[in-house]
Structure formats: C-alpha cells, structure tokens
Subunit: 303 residues, 4 copies
Amino acid sequence: MEYVLGAHQYGKAETRLVRIYRDTARHQIRDLNVSTSLRGDFAAAYLDGDQATVLPTDSQKNTAYAFALDKGVTDIETYALALARHFADDIEPVQAARVEVDEYEWERVRVGGGEHPHAFVRASQEVRTTTATVQRRAHEQRAWVLSGLRDLVLLKSTGSEFTGFLHDRYTTLPETDDRVLATSLTARWRHARPERDDWSAVNASIRQVLIETFATVHSRALQQSLFQMGNAVLAAHADIAEIRLSAPNKHHFLVDLSPFGLDNRGEVFHADDRPYGLIQCAVQRADAPPAGPAWDAPGSFAG
Amino acid sequence: MEYVLGAHQYGKAETRLVRIYRDTARHQIRDLNVSTSLRGDFAAAYLDGDQATVLPTDSQKNTAYAFALDKGVTDIETYALALARHFADDIEPVQAARVEVDEYEWERVRVGGGEHPHAFVRASQEVRTTTATVQRRAHEQRAWVLSGLRDLVLLKSTGSEFTGFLHDRYTTLPETDDRVLATSLTARWRHARPERDDWSAVNASIRQVLIETFATVHSRALQQSLFQMGNAVLAAHADIAEIRLSAPNKHHFLVDLSPFGLDNRGEVFHADDRPYGLIQCAVQRADAPPAGPAWDAPGSFAG
Amino acid sequence: MEYVLGAHQYGKAETRLVRIYRDTARHQIRDLNVSTSLRGDFAAAYLDGDQATVLPTDSQKNTAYAFALDKGVTDIETYALALARHFADDIEPVQAARVEVDEYEWERVRVGGGEHPHAFVRASQEVRTTTATVQRRAHEQRAWVLSGLRDLVLLKSTGSEFTGFLHDRYTTLPETDDRVLATSLTARWRHARPERDDWSAVNASIRQVLIETFATVHSRALQQSLFQMGNAVLAAHADIAEIRLSAPNKHHFLVDLSPFGLDNRGEVFHADDRPYGLIQCAVQRADAPPAGPAWDAPGSFAG
Amino acid sequence: MEYVLGAHQYGKAETRLVRIYRDTARHQIRDLNVSTSLRGDFAAAYLDGDQATVLPTDSQKNTAYAFALDKGVTDIETYALALARHFADDIEPVQAARVEVDEYEWERVRVGGGEHPHAFVRASQEVRTTTATVQRRAHEQRAWVLSGLRDLVLLKSTGSEFTGFLHDRYTTLPETDDRVLATSLTARWRHARPERDDWSAVNASIRQVLIETFATVHSRALQQSLFQMGNAVLAAHADIAEIRLSAPNKHHFLVDLSPFGLDNRGEVFHADDRPYGLIQCAVQRADAPPAGPAWDAPGSFAG
C-alpha cells in the first residue's frame, strides 16, 4: 500500500447527560454535553476492518454515564479528567484520550423570596466548557486542562472607536469615535497544572475579569479590548498559562433616518447578521509551560 | 377566472433593531426583532401585478426604525401598538395591521460591585414577545394585544409523576411516581383591553406566577401543571382574558447502570432530543371578551 | 372554578422514523419525521391530573413505528391517514386526530453508470409534508388531507421588476425593472377528497407546476408570482380544492462597486439574511368543499 | 509587560455573495459564502490600539465583492487564490492571507423538458468548500489550496457490520453483522500544487469516488470505509497529496416491535440525533509535500 494512514481519532460526541444530586431535599443539577475522543493503536480498524483494539463508542457513552454516578460531577474539569485518565489508564490501546464537556447553567426558581429546593430555570445561553487531554499512563502520564466559555454576548453602547486604520483602494469605511461594540465571546484558558480543586471558583473569577475588562477599557479596536482582557486574566491568575479569545464583531449599523427628518444620534441601530468581523488572539506568559496537544480539538480536524 | 384569491397578507419580517437611550450617562438598551404584516385592499397586486396600493415592505422596515427613534421603545407593547395603529390609520389600503415584536433581554455588567453605565451582557436565552393587531380606523378601530414569552426552560428534579394512564395494545411505558419534568415553555396571554401603561410590570408578574406554579404544583401530568399555571395567572390578573400554553415534554430518561453494578436512583439521566411530547392548552375567563383576530399569527399561515 | 379550559391537544412530536423495504436486493428507503396530536375527552388530565383517558405520547410513538412496519409507508399521505384513523377509531376518548409527516428525500447512489441497490445520498434540503386530520368514527367520520413542501429554494436572475408601488413618507426604495427574485417556498394544498392512490404522482406534478410557473411568469411582484403559481396548480389538478403559499422575499442587494471604478450591472449581489419580505396567500376554487379543521396546525397554537 | 501576544489573526467572516453571469440569455449563478483572514504585523492594534497597519474587515468585504465582478468566479479555488494573493501581495503588513469559500449549488429549472435560461432551484444541502492560504510575496510566495465538501449525507441499508470489537466492563453493545450505516461526510483534500485549471472537474471526480467507495465497500466499520474512501481518491488522483475525512456515525437503531407481535427484520429504525460516533482520519501519500499552514483553519482557533 503506497498510501499512509495519517492522524486519526474516534469517539462518542454529544452525550447529553444530566446529573442530579438528591442526597438532601435541596437538589443540585449538572447539565452536560460530553464528547470523548481516543487516539492510539487503532490502525488495523482503518486498514483491515479489524476491531480487536477498538473500544466501541457505545462503551465510551456508557462510561460517561457510569462515571457521572460513580465519581460524580462536582465540576466539569474534575469529571473530564477522571474520564480521560480512565481511558488512558485502563484501555490498553489508548495512547491519548480527550474529553470535552459543555455545561449548561441552571438557576434555582425563587418562590416567595426563597429558593425552591428542586425547581430550576435555565440561566443564560452562555456555555461553560472544558477540555481534558491525557497522554500515556503511569509515571509517563501527562495531562492538560483547558477551561472556557462560549456565547458570552457582550455589548458596549459607547466607549468604543475605530480610527486611524490603513486605507487601500477598497476602503470606504468612515472613521468613528463612538460606536456600538458587541461580540459573542469564546474564550479558553489553559491551566498551568492539571491538579487543582478550585476549578469553579477560578473560572468564575476569570469570567468576571473578562467582562469587567471589556466594560472598562476604552476600546480603540476589538483587538485592543481582547488583548487587555487576556492580560487582565493572566495578571489576576498566576496559575493560568495562556488564554485564547475569539470574538466576532457583531456589527450594529447606525440607521440613517434623515430622509424622515429625524436626527439619529447613536440611538437606533440595525443589528446585522452577516458578514461579521472575526478577531482572534492568544495571550500567554513568556514562561508558560508547553501546550502539548491541549488545543488539538477534534472539531477542527477536517474543518 | 374561476379561482379565488383567499386570505392574503404581506409584510417585513425580522427587522433587527436596537434602541439605545443615552440621555444620561446611564444608557438603556432595547434589543428587538420586529415583524409587520398588513391585510387589506391588495388583491390587484396578486391578480394583475398592480402595486398601486402596496406599501413596500422596505417602507415598513423604515417605519419600524423611525418609530423606534421618534416614539421610542418604552416597552414592546406600546411600540407595537403605535406601529400597528400607524399602518391602520395612515395607509389607506390597510384594513388590518399586525406587529409582532420579540425582545432579547440584557443585564448591566457589574463592575466592582456596582452597575456599569453602558456595558451589557445578554441575559437568558428566553425571549419576550408581543403581538399587536389593529383593525380599521377612527371610531371603528379595534385593537388587541398579546404578550408572552418563549424558550423559558424549566425543570423539576422531583415532584412529578405519571400514573393511571390509558393502556392500549401499543402501550409499554411503565408508570412512575417520581420523574424529571422539564419543558421549554411558550406562553402568550391576551390582555382584556389594549390600553395600559404597566405592560412590563404585568408581564414580569405573570412570568413569576408561571414559574412559581410550575415549581410548587405536585405534577400528576404536564397537562395538570399547565392548567394550574394558566389558572394562577388568571387568578392573579383580572385584566388578562386568556392564556395559551405550549409545552414540549423534554424527556429525561433514567440511564440503566445496573450492568455496571451501579444503582441509579434518579441521579443520572439522558436528556433526549427527539421525539418529545407536546402539550398545549388554553385557559380563559368564562366572560372573556372575544379574541377576534388576535391569535391569527402570520407564521402559521401555510405551516 | 371560574376559569375555563379552552382548546387543548397533546401528542408526540418529531418521531424520526426510517422505513426500509428490503424484500428484494434493491432496497427502498422512506425517511420520516412523524408528529401525532389528539383532541378529545382529556379535560380531566388538565383539571384534576386524572390520566384515565390519556393515551401516553409514548404509545403514540410506538404506534407510529408499528404502523410503519405493519401497514408500510408507500406514501406519507396513506401512512398518515391510516395512523390518524387508528387513533380516531380505536382510542375511545379521541374525537379528532392529526398526523403530520415530513419526508426527507434520498436518491440512489450511482456506481459505474447504474443505480446501487442499497446505497443512498440525501437529495435536496427540500422537505415533503402532509397533514391528515380525522374526526369522529364510523359513519360520522370525516377526513382531510393536506400535502405540501417546504424549503423549496427558487431564484430568478432576471424577469422580475417592482415598480408603481405606493409611496408614503417613509418610502425610500427606488423602483426597479430588473432584479433578482428569490424565495424559500412553503406550499400546502388541500385535496378535495381524502381518498386517492396517486398521492406521490400528484404531488410531484404540483411541485413541477409551481416551479415552472415561478420560472416563466414575468414577475411584477412576488405577490403576482404566487397567485399565478396557485392558479396554475388549480388549473392542472381538478381535485385540489385550495393551495396556500408562504414566500419570504430573500433580498439580493446589488453591491455598489462604483467607488472602485467598477460598473456592477446586475452581476454581484449581497444575499441578505434579515429582514426579509414575507408574502402569503391562498388560492381556492369558488366551489371548494369546506376546509374544516384541516389547517389548524398544532405548531401555531401558542405562536 | 510580562505577557506576550501569541498567535493572532483577523478578518471578515461570511460575506454572502452571489455572482451572476448574464453575458448571454443563458445566465449562470455562483452562490458563495466568503471568509477572509489575515496574519502579519498587527501587534500594535492589540498592544496599543494603533490601527495604522490594520486593513479594516470592511475593506476586505469590499474586496471580495469587487474581485467577484472584476476577476469573476469561474471556480471557488481560482477566486479564493486570487483574493488571498491580493492581500499577501498588495497589503504591506500582511504576511499570510487565508480565504475560505463555501459554495451552494443551484440547478437550472426544467420547463417543458428543457433548461430555463435564468430560473434556478437550490440543489442538495451539500456544500462545496475551499481554503486558499498564501504566505509572503514575490519569489518567496508560497500557496496551498484545499478543496472539499460538507454535509454529504450517505446511507447504506445493508453491507455494514460491527463485530469483534474490544470489550471492557462498560461494554454492552451487541455485535451485528447487518446494520444501517449513515453519515454526514466532511472531506477536505489538499492539492499537491496550487496551480491548476481543472478544479471543478477534479473535485467532481473526487466526490464521485468518495460516494462510490462508500457504496461498494463492504464495511466492517466506518473507520474502514473512510480509509478506503481516502485511498481510492489518492489512487485516482495523483495530484492530491492528502485527504482528511470526518464522519459522524449517525446511528439508526432497530426498533423492538416484538411487544406488538411484529418481527422487525431490519425494516423500521429510529434515526437518533445525539450522541453520535465521530470518526476522523487522514490518508496521505508517503511522499506528500509538506502541508505548511494549509490546515490551520480560523474556526478552530479557540474552539
């Protein structure tokens, strides 16, 4: 055979799992979307159709459910790491396991001023994310953990300008010293070490730093806002090695109402769908430990 | 011509409009999706391609923007009514105008414990809705207003059963006295009169009644929960004539973990996508004023 | 109780069912999305939580699967009618049953110039639809059948104008005698009688008439195109009582390239997302039999 | 500043562009979604908010439109390369430009047995894709071109098994020697050289090879099918260096109808939504030229 099997991986994507803690009358709920992905000694399945080393994706799904009961889901990072370590440790052909978890947040229903013990309402459309990657086993084992968020929709109604940019022959955009700046932020940050017990607290703090910095930085461009946001996160959290930010510029165009005798001074906008600007950057410590395979998300494999 | 033009209407759908109030340093934001629809003397456009009576949908869009500046958007009901009245009053061929508005809610960013004056974060994925319908003009004019919400996602982790149901030859479902009950509620309620100045306060109160009732009723079926929710709204608000509720039963299936030696006592569930139950009902006052065309939504015209 | 239970219905939505015919080596496939909805004597479930008359939605799902095997799916109309008649005939509390079916079309894979016997590729994103409604039983039974299609995306690159329209103070749209006309058509037509054995052939013919008429009519407005399309269907099919058409005007805006020294004579367009015009009309025979509940789709119940 | 700006890029995403050729009465249409992304000397924008080197994303959009008129869109690869080369050649701070284009296919409407000259209907939901990446300028310039497709939905109703797989303690899946195999294929292939004039013909041939191989290989696992599909493409096209395939295993579960006295021998299936298997692999020539940045898609930057 003159053709070579290149990179390959397989797994079970989007297992929708709800874990309820009901040890006391005050229930708790964790609502997850779990995707597992294995790399390793699986070439025979591709080359010869021989499944002898292939753990079915159905078994991976079962494991996700079983671990949710057995190990629990105190936070998604701990859960994802446990699951990834299990695949790396216990399934012989696996050389690397990646577990990605999205979490949807619920709030308690308030009744008569107090919190209801077992009724919940979905909070924001924002999603918490994690990716745990574990390579090899025993003393050779290495692990990486990313945490993040998606669909955090932010808007500033002033405090944003866009001036002094490069002009080429296709440039018609006027400069502006006061515009609406809006985005739907995706952010992921890499923890310097995969061991910690304060995942949720750290992540909540980082989220707040991102939001506060977006709000308070006078923005000369979305690029600048993003870098300041990343900077602020690293400044506040010594154990974060790197942060990556991807931010669509959700354009809000001022509507020209002068044909109708109206002077629209930044009050009525058209929120456009497409196209949108897309700004992406990483901010990292100069001495950050290497990222290894932490960012090799399965979703991007073939586009 | 032996064939007859039946019901017909036209308009501009989904004008995405953001209104910012910036009279003081503490900005306010209203984020809307506006759809307008006109009925009236437009048969010639269909029969002969004669546009003489047809106000372009582009003009309807312009009007939506202009009114957002000129009349403002204190609440979506007042705005929708003003727009619908304008079309009915001022555009000669119009016999009935309907304006549907969705509103997306934003919260202020909190910085250092206080509210930021011009930075916002999208709140829940829940959507506020209204439909204003206005027929004819001058002393013959009639108006109807619906308010509502969509995508209010609720879940109870206990306090729900499903027993004693009809069995036929295709029934295999076991009875259960403790299940997860979850839905993504769509609710719309009809105001007895189209004139009021407390739209937002009333709607917030109704939303809270719906949520509290869902939480506190021990549910023998989603049907019962919905009726109780509707009942509670009518009991609390004498000026609401009718409420309609549409609720998918978002099934959460208990995962069988016994093959793995685990006893899953209501702790780990699979949140399924499709199929889903769909329960719908109206609750109304015995003496409710007639609904007229209030519920004839354009979206349902041809399915 | 002073509040009244109004209209109510319940059922199982979106049962995703694939029926494969494998009696010979040349398999056939029918790919369906089935939704069932029942009306009748179910008030006790809402009022008291008493399920004694309630056939579980799970049983409705089971019935959809069982009928797909037992009765087969020669075409979606026959299947939907059989299912609706079963609920009306055999489930005592049911007074009316509605079955909606979407069908996704597959084409055979071509290999070496011939058709493969058991490999298929999804054809267009277009969806075939039907709604069968059956009321009461025995000699009192009545049935109505709608057939239709959704997401039939059509475009004319010329042969469309928009001139001579009404101007008000908010009108800025210029007239045009040559524009791109594009839509994503939803059409549903009501069969004069629910008994026929040529559903698929009739529906294919109607689809072709719709497309040909869209193509060949010089359009003075989308309204005119729609009416002509409906007319042509009624003219070609004496057993169609009525047709309803809903057509977004998917705007294609000519891009102004003159700042770059380019003369854009109808060659480069921006395909916009929102807002869009929305044109809807019914065309019916003057002597059409009454529609009864044929058009009361569950989806529109509460918006 | 102790924190470092890492990888960064920016551009305009999803410019929805329709190019119509109307030189003769028989029009042609190209329907595109264009995303441009620039890397280079843009650090000052992030670090200081200085836009002096930043070509606005609005200008990038204008360029996409202008090139569609000026250079035309004979095929998406030629168009994407021209656009990427322009950014790399003519915009001083740019060190690398990537242009991604999706194309939606239209078919001519057939009227009276012939093809209509200017009326079109959207074909399959399948999307053609390309990514052109250009680094540096003049004699140092390098270019890479990927072509591909997305949402090619395939199904085999027999000729697929899954047996002999690894069992662990969480494995409950039964073996099967006859199942439905279905996927929604994403495939991208890298051309050995960026210069060719037969893009559309080559891509159509590759698509056909993928489909035929899926159909004709007796599948012992989706992994095996994918590798064979990649192999066949490389065997048929000496100028393709590498192909990557990403394939969800769209599970079709046999419905147990035995409680209803029915024997379901592979005839009725539930088409499930989530979770799904996800199988991904690359197949490449042993002597393939290096991929460089060809696969670094912006979409995967932060997840």
